[in-house]
């Protein structure tokens, strides 16, 4: 097995890229995708440690995280569609009203 540190670095790299995406992009869909990247980074950690200690718990939690991601994507995209229908935009900095 590749040393565990490598997995951690990979995971941090994906996390950092995801954060950069969230902070710098204006398109909400891409921000959502960056969130998916971050969740993915977490999964790598969980699975790597699961392999290291020889227990499937980490994988089970990764499955829960994927479930979570699915729920998040469904609701998030639903909101985006609703917003797009009303404001004709998907840019985050134009989502500046509390009620529509």
């Amino acid at each position: 097995m590749v040393p565990i540190g490598h997995y951690l670095f990979l995971s941090v790299a994906l996390l950092a890229i995801g954060i950069v995406g969230i902070v710098t992009r204006r398109n909400v869909i891409i921000i959502l995708m960056s969130v998916e990247l971050i969740l993915n980074a977490v999964n790598i950690n969980l699975v790597a440690f699961s392999r290291l200690v020889g227990s499937v718990e980490g994988q089970v939690f990764a499955i829960f995280i994927i479930t979570d991601a699915a729920a998040e994507a469904a609701v998030g995209l639903g909101i985006i569609i609703a917003f797009f229908r009303n404001r004709e935009t998907v840019l985050a900095d134009e989502m500046d009203i509390l009620k529509w």
Binding site: M33, I66, A70
Partner: protein, 168 residues
């Protein structure tokens, strides 16, 4: 040896396509590179003997969630989006946050280096048979979280339908 080649291949693929995800102007292309990143991660899962998670990642993440993303991107008008400014001016903020994060992890790794690297990996058979082990864990030890997750999915489904439904 083979392990390392596989790991570095998939790791490089994942990082490269992740960078493309956040830098492409075109959201559809971003989505495709995200699929690549997710598949690369799935490859890493496979190299870690997590077969079941590998296929869950492929079916659910790449095949399910991302199709949803692509679908939504196509529904919202992209011709307009292409001519808009895609980035706000927060590169500095992003870089600082990333740098801080990297520093933190590096520090943490440096501190725990001895103990972490000393830990011997479990024998290869520890996770065999993978699917059965995961299933057992999921349906015995983590039964309650599993059910809660299914309720979460139900709630999300209802929420998504309510959100996306046309106002009559």
């Amino acid at each position: 040896m083979l392990d390392q080649v596989v790991f570095y291949f998939f790791a490089l693929l994942a990082v490269a396509s992740s960078i493309l995800v956040v830098t492409r102007r075109n959201a559809v292309q971003s989505a495709i590179f995200l699929v690549t990143a997710l598949l690369a991660t799935a490859g890493i899962f496979l190299s870690l003997d997590a077969e079941f998670l590998f296929i869950v990642q492929v079916i659910l993440y790449a095949g399910g969630i991302m199709v949803l993303f692509v679908f939504v991107i196509m529904l919202v008008n992209l011709d307009v989006a292409l001519h808009q400014v895609q980035f706000n001016r927060q590169w500095m903020v992003a870089l600082i946050i990333s740098a801080v994060l990297a520093a933190q992890v590096a520090a943490a790794l440096a501190v725990s280096r001895k103990t972490l690297y000393a830990l011997p990996p479990a024998p290869a058979q520890a996770l065999e048979p993978n699917t059965e082990r995961v299933a057992y864990s999921l349906f015995h030890t983590y039964m309650l979280p599993f059910e809660i997750a299914s309720i979460l999915l139900l709630v999300a489904m209802v929420g998504a339908v309510v959100m996306a439904k046309k106002r009559v």
